[in-house]
Amino acid sequence: MTEHERRVKAEQRERFDFAVIAGWIPSGERVLDLGCGDGRLLRYLSETRDVSGYGVEIDGDSVLGCIRNGVDVIQMDIECGLSGFEDRSFDHVIISQALQTMHATEGILNEMLRVADEAVVSFPNFAYRSNRAAIAAGRMPVSEDLPYDWFDTPNVRFFTIADFEDLCARLGIQIRERLAFDEAGRAVSDDPNLNGSLAFYRLGRVA
């Protein structure tokens, strides 16, 4: 694959992710995107869903990217919580493929459901078939959704769909909807923990 092809593919993949998330965000909402990178999801949501949103990001260059993209961003460390953000001050809070890069998993999930009534979470499923195959062959997996070598991955938490759902149950978090997709972007319904490469959740508090 050439660099150009790789980039085109990554962009297609990204648009696909964005479209899945946007499908859960009604027009005109107020959203918070945690680990927002250079703000392209928020920009996409503001263009397609007319949302008003803020991003939260720790990395200085990404903050600069947000400002270049005209995206409102707050530079802070999510690992330390979301203190300062008021309870239920957003319609949706999103963490798109960033939860696995943070240590304070439980704290972040609890904080998300404090500042918004509903959270949208996406993450790569470590138990995806090809990842299992890599481990079985004695190698750390490198795949479409886990595209890093073990020595330079930003990921610090490696978990599966089954693990995540256990944690939600323990934290009293209600899974309102789950979508899983394989590496080709096809929706998976049969055994998502085996067949899903990327998982998306709509989460709320158990009433």
Partner: protein, 375 residues
């Protein structure tokens, strides 16, 4: 800094406002003058004007230099100029010496029309809000109904914040840098030490030193030395001076032993030569009094409910005078009001004074934000 991006030779202008100005303290100024400079060209729609507010010791001279004084380069010349982050090819930039200042605007050094003598200590106390009111008169004079942006660092950032609340229809963007929504007790304490240094100088004469033909230079010098410590970070001072000795040995005297002592004395002496003591007292009081939440039971979000501008807020990691947490107070009060805000916490070693430096990341942020402002 490259001279080809300089605004070049500039000249200060002066305007007189004849109608009285009622100050926040209840006192009234019968009329006043402001000195200001402008850079770039006001466009036909008058939509590209940017006000740059100065901090404690700044002036209207932001960029460029004077024909007869080429060494006197503006205090924020690294920011303002053609092709610089605050690009004078796009924006019409205005710098003004605030009311009560000592660079030519009406202040303690001016003659009081009621007495025919210099105001000295009789100059009324002016506040950040009074400065905004005076700056608004200047905007009227220049035909600027709405600023594209008001920009300031430190006390200048407080003015940008005040603009957004006081005249919300007249400001589209506020850039509040290395600032705070109010001073802490520690901040006020440092200011009080500085003031006491000045008023306890035997040459102070209760503020009427000019009439006595003297200047309280010792007090001013001490005030500046104390202030300067709060502008720098511990790490930067350590890096710059450490425990370096001026004469290579411990002299067991009260003369300068350590380089940092020499540096502070130099800064103090330099400042005391040109800055007016009454202005310094008043500026520090303006800082102390600034607290927009005061009239709202300490609720900054309630104070900002009137604001409509979009905000850029930035702080510096080693700024302990106005630490990042102070900027976050502003950010979350803006969020409460669903106002647009971008907030950057910039890694920079230079403490509070970082906002005056041309750190590449800092300037990239400012450039990016300012480029997205439509005019």
């Amino acid at each position: 800094m490259s001279s080809e991006n300089s605004v070049g030779v500039v000249a200060a202008q002066r305007v007189r406002f004849a109608s009285p100005l009622l100050l926040k303290s209840g006192a009234e100024l019968p009329g006043f003058e402001l000195v200001f400079e402008t850079y770039g060209t006001l466009n036909a729609e008058h939509s590209n004007a940017v006000l740059v507010c100065h901090a404690l010791s700044g002036s209207h001279h932001i960029a460029g230099h004077y024909a007869d004084d080429p060494e006197n380069v503006g205090w924020w010349d690294n920011l303002v100029g053609p092709g610089k982050p605050l690009d004078t090819r796009k924006f019409f930039v205005v710098g003004v010496n605030n009311l009560g200042g000592c660079y030519g605007s009406t202040g303690p050094l001016s003659v009081n029309p009621a007495t025919g003598r210099r105001y000295g200590a009789d100059f009324p106390m002016v506040t950040v809000e009074d400065w905004v009111a005076a700056q608004a008169r200047l905007a009227d004079h220049l035909g600027i109904a709405t600023w594209a942006a008001v920009v300031g660092g430190s006390l200048g950032g407080m003015q940008a914040l005040a603009w957004s609340m006081q005249l919300p229809q007249r400001i589209r963007h506020a850039l509040v840098i290395a600032s705070a929504p109010k001073l802490s007790a520690q901040n006020i304490a440092f200011n009080e030490v500085a003031r006491q240094a000045i008023v306890s100088d035997p040459d102070f004469h209760a503020g009427h030193y000019a009439e006595n033909g003297v200047i309280p230079t010792r007090g001013l010098r001490l005030a500046r030395m104390v202030g300067h410590i709060t502008y720098l970070s511990d790490s930067q001072m350590g890096e710059k001076f450490g425990r370096q000795l001026r004469h290579g040995a411990h002299n067991f005297s009260y003369d300068v032993d350590f380089e940092v002592e020499s540096y502070l004395r130099y800064q103090g002496d330099k400042f005391a030569r040109f800055f007016d003591a009454n202005t310094y007292l008043m500026m520090t009081k303006a800082l102390d009094y600034f607290d927009p939440a005061y009239e709202y039971d300490g609720n900054l979000a309630a104070a900002l409910a009137r604001a409509q501008a979009s905000f850029f807020v930035a702080s510096f990691s080693t700024d302990w005078r106005f630490a990042p947490a102070r900027s976050r107070e502003i950010v979350f009060a803006l969020l409460h009001n669903r106002l647009r805000v971008a907030y950057a916490e910039i890694e920079c070693d230079a403490g509070h004074d970082s906002f005056l430096l041309d750190d590449p990341h800092y300037h990239s942020l400012l450039r990016a934000y300012l480029e997205n402002i439509t005019v």
